[in-house]
Symmetry: C2
Subunit: 376 residues, 2 copies
């Protein structure tokens, strides 16, 4: 018997309650019944983003949400500043280039977060229409300091944040932190199947929607706003995923949104402490709550190690992306993951490392337990 | 007790087997396991479209699929011909205008299909980069003659067909009928929840992907093709909807794809015959297999009638769109609908009409049964 459990950063594990919530009768989306559930969903998401602004639910992946943020608020030839701390930072660069914007890119080595002083220097030098960045950079396990960024970015420069994996795993307060547009997705902290993206727009900014000159139809928030006012979506939405979204929000609010963040913080602390005790090195200098990236020890093939642990124990870690394939292991602890789960995952990592010939320090797993006990 | 059943053209009814197929453990999309199921899905869809071309599965509504067809194959200022036979024809116009194309529009009164001779005259007059049209126009219950169109459109003009509601409800052979690009969606003939769009690209046309100058990222088939070759999708797909897609394809292939079309044809025949016998008038001069649109009799408020039938019996018909709201009733019989279902729906229509004071002719329901018997 093998139980497959995901420690990959999206898709993540989905509780049976949420899976089954999607197995309800599909209803028509031009009905009061649908509007009621859409309103419930947007209100819940508003609390998750901590915003009084508008929330739009898209049927797409998080990347579709990122594109939505660009095409609705920016224009061709706009100067924008991208804070690129990994694969998803690079995605912002590719999206804005696709639409003919002119990005300046502050690019950091993978594993590092952006430096506020660098951003400050750039912003003094030049006027930007927008700053684009990640809250959590999923490819590297880094968390960026959005609070300080929000304090510093000028009011007339849009701050656009990808919180696809950061939402509900990191502390985040969209309104308080002066974030203008924020994107997230269903398959991370929200512990749902993939298929929905969310975009939150700060109050007072909705009059800027559609004022730019970039073409968009499916992702146009002009349509989304018009229909949103009637409690609808412009296009046929993934109705059954919205059932699941409401069930997920219900479960998370029952746990308490602050407790959800604390749970992620605790799991990250256990993971970090333990891998270091094992003799591994953390990859990220500013490690996130949602994912712990560790360097694969010299002489070991990380890809094989990950595959072995998955084959043998059903525990699926994520590989490094691009040039870090086989070089880092990403242990995601986001969404439907508990302290016992992360302990189990670390035990399997220990077993895998032992099998591959790496000598883990003897006290590592005891330290994991002691860290967990101290957090009780 | 009231059982809600959809006779609306998307979302449509979803069998419990398919709902539950989505309630399986969400797997990671960068795995062999996922590639196997994606290949199964694309092969099955290839049989449904009747094409040997490439199939791409998008996480979006059908409208996202329509936009995908435009942005990947066309360019700014391209002359295109749109055959506009209703709300979805108008959608083509809006999408191509959004991207700065120059459409000539052959616009027909709602309820009529396009005339091949009109298209022929237009094509003789001017060289078009593409002709865009609908197989089934859902807003009016019209089916268009794609076969004749495909015979006539020049080889170097792209024929782009929206078969969102037409696929698996109407006879359709993409390759044989010379269709270049065809779009469909999950929540119609495929009897699935909404959330997936499909785009089929005729063999030999894939070298044209991404050669135009329209911007696109999420909907770019360049990315989709690159990842498709490794058995993946570029962005995190709605994994659980793909479970459902494979279950749906399995059920439909068990019935036999030809039998699926025949079932739709038979239901449409029963619906048309019966409403006429009731004393109602058909709205469409070229009625489709998937949806029967009827005019609401003089003096009756169609919106109230539809609401009454839904409130009282759980049977949800669709209202007319735009200027036809309250003026027509659309009885969809697509997807998970059987001959007994359509008989039941017609009985409820009869009851609703009686309640609203309309004198249906006495023999109508007997005629429904006799039509059904004759089709046995």
């Amino acid at each position: 018997m093998k139980k497959e459990i995901l420690f990959s950063p999206g898709p993540t594990n989905v509780p049976a309650e949420i899976l089954l919530a999607g197995a309800k009768r599909t209803i028509h989306h031009r009905t009061k019944e649908f509007s009621v559930m859409l309103e419930e969903a947007t209100k819940g998401l508003g609390r998750a983003f901590d915003t009084k602004g508008d929330i739009f639910i898209l049927t797409s992946s998080g990347t579709g949400g990122m594109e939505t943020a660009v095409v609705n608020f920016l224009s061709r030839n706009d100067n924008v500043l991208v804070l690129n701390t990994g694969a998803f930072g690079r995605r912002w660069v590719n999206i804005v280039k696709t639409y003919g914007l002119v990005p300046d890119v502050l690019e950091y080595p993978w594993g590092e977060s952006f430096k506020i002083s660098d951003v400050e220097a750039k912003i003094k030098e030049k006027k930007y229409k927008a700053v684009l960045c990640q809250l959590g950079e999923t490819s590297t396990g880094v968390v960026n300091d959005i609070k300080s960024l929000g304090d510093m970015v000028p009011k007339d420069t849009l701050l656009i944040v990808d919180a696809v994996s950061g939402l509900l795993t990191e502390e985040f307060h969209m309104d308080k932190w002066n974030v203008d547009v924020c994107v997230s997705g269903s398959q991370k902290g929200l512990m749902m199947p993939p298929g929905l993206a969310f975009i939150a727009v700060r109050k007072g900014l909705d009059d800027k929607i559609g004022k730019g000159d970039l073409p968009s139809f499916y992702f146009s928030l002009v349509h989304a706003k018009t229909y949103g006012e009637k409690g609808q979506t412009p296009w046929t939405p993934a109705v059954n995923l919205i059932y699941q979204l409401n069930r997920a929000l219900e479960m998370l609010e029952e746990e308490g949104l602050d407790n959800v963040i604390t749970r992620h913080k605790n799991m990250a602390q256990i993971a970090r402490k333990t891998v270091v005790e094992m003799g591994l090195e953390l990859f990220s200098s500013a490690p996130s709550n949602g994912i712990t990236a560790v360097k694969v020890p010299e002489g070991i093939d990380g890809s094989k190690l990950i595959e072995h642990i998955c084959e043998k124990y059903g525990v699926r870690f994520a590989n490094g992306q691009r040039e870090y394939k086989g070089k880092i292991i990403r242990i995601a602890h986001m969404g439907y993951v508990t302290v016992p789960d992360i302990l189990m995952a670390l035990n399997c990592l220990w077993l895998g490392l032992k099998k591959s010939g790496f000598k883990t320090k003897p006290g590592a797993m005891l330290s994991a337990l002691e860290t967990a006990a101290a957090l009780d």
